[in-house]
Each structure stands twice: as C-alpha cells, then as structure tokens.
Amino acid sequence: MVSKDEYLKKLQSKIKKLPNEEINEAIDFYHEYFAEAGEENTDSVIARLGSPSFVASQILADYAVKDLDTNTSTTKKSFSAIWFIILAILASPIALPLLIIIISLVFTLIIVCGASILTFFVFIVGLPVSGAFSIIAGFAVIVQHWQTSIFFIGIGLVAVGMGMLLFSPFANFSKMATSSLVKLLKKLFDKLTYRRKEGI
C-alpha cells in the first residue's frame, strides 16, 4: 500500500505544470484531508479518492476551464487551457487505444480551429498591407495620370479601412472559437472519466 506522503508526492508530480500557487493549494488541501481522516484510515481515503492520476486529472481539467472563465481571457490563455485539458486527459487512467483515438480527435479539433483562425488572420493582415501598396502605387503615378492615382489611392484606403474594421470581430471570433473548443474538450473529458467511474 502507498503511504500518504508517496501519494501526495505523486499527485504533486502530476500537476507540476500548474502555477505554484495552485500546486500548493491542492497539496495543502489533500494533506489536511488525510490528516482529518486519521492516520489509520489512509488506505480507505486513497481508495475513495482514486489514483493520484485521477485526482490530478480532475484538478487540471477544472483549472483549464476556470482559467478561461475569468474576464481577462485571451487567445493565449485559451491555448494554455487546451494544453491543460490535454494534460488532464494524459493523466487520467484511460485505456491506451482509447487514449490514442481521443488524442488524435483532440488534435484534429485543434488543427481545424487553428487553421480557420489562421486563414482569417492572413486575410485581415493582407488587406491593409495590399492597401498600403496600392496607395504607394497611386502616389507613384500622380504626375503621369492623376485619375489613375486617385483610383489606386481610393482602393488602398478602402482595403486598409476594411482590415481595421474586421480586426475586432476577428479577435472576438478567435477568442470564442478557442474557448468553445476548450469547453467541448472539458465535456468530453467529463464524459470519459464519468463513464469510467460507472463502469467499474
């Protein structure tokens, strides 16, 4: 049988990717938990809690979503949330073949999401850049044919303006896409661990 200290050490190593504050809180909590249950009940507490991996996967999965729910969520944060969900899935005790399927599914989702964000990004960055070139071209021909010049400068300004207008919807879109991806993954994770608990 594992001792309480070994158990906590294992748990700590499974959640070491979290910020220090989170690690300490969790370890303190479970340290106290064992103490409350009493030294002689260590084995039954371990049996009721589940393996350190299981406990860790729940902490990681919840941390990912919690981190996302704070108002200051950014795309960067969402990506770190996705990372924590992957860690949670890795930490949870699921059969290997199933794990491989899940991981490929998760990566597919991430790639689809990432690709669509990238496409929009290129489009939106491309607009002002080509706009700027058009404006430069317009100024270049100003002495030869001023009508052409006006045409190019006008097109250029339209492109720049559109790029600027589309920027904030784009930022929202990518934020939304990543955060709903994380929520989807969390749901998937909950289903999996729940089924496992039932299916003993």
Binding site: E22, E25, A26, D28, F29, Y30, E32, Y33, A35, E36, A37, V45, R48, L49, G50, F54, V55, Q58, I59, A61, D62, Y63, K66, D69, T70, Y194, K197
Partner: protein, 106 residues
C-alpha cells in the same frame, strides 16, 4: 444513481451546505457525499473554482496542533446560491410534471 449530476448542481449543493455554516474540506466533502454519489476527488476543484469566483473565502484555524482551512460563503456566494435555488425549483417542477404527472395524471 442513474442520474448524472451537472456541475452547477454540485456548486449549488456546496453553497447550500456552506450557507448553513462554515466547514473545512473533509467535513464538507462528507456532507455533500451523504446526498450525492460523487467521487471524493470531485470536491476540491469545485471549492477552488468557487473560491476563485469569490463565492467563498477561506480562513485558517488550528486544531490539535495542525491547520484546518475553513470555507465561508461570501455575500455574492449567497446571491449565487439563491439564484441557483430559484432555477432548481423551476427545473424540478418541469421534470416532476413529466416524471410524476405523466404516469398518474392522464
């Protein structure tokens, strides 16, 4: 139990227990477990999340030479609890009207 618990229902139960009195992690877990079939490791993430949302605060008290971390519900926690309770009552009535009424009240 055949019914799966949503996380909001779990949140509501934790808030309800703490609305009555402060509790430390272990006793809180046991109290919630009396009514719900959950794995014991589910509670810590819930507590941490509620704490982050400022529905709960913690304070430490020594007990037999070691530390006990108590959880206390905040004003916004009570607000949240009342909101969830209202939603629950509506939800419960809807389910009852199908489950109970559907069989008896033809």
């Amino acid at each position: 139990m055949s019914f799966q618990l949503g996380s909001s229902l779990l949140d509501a139960c934790v808030l309800a227990v703490l609305a009555k009195q402060d509790a430390y992690g272990y006793s809180l877990t046991q109290q919630v477990r009396e009514v719900m079939d959950i794995s014991e490791s589910t509670l810590y993430p819930v507590l941490r999340r509620l704490q982050k949302k400022e529905y709960l605060t913690t304070y430490d008290q020594s007990f037999q030479g070691r530390n006990r971390r108590y959880y206390r519900i905040t004003a916004s926690g009570i607000e949240k609890y009342e909101e969830l309770l209202k939603e629950w009552v509506v939800y419960k009535q809807k389910i009852d009207s199908v489950l109970v009424g559907g069989i008896n009240g033809e």
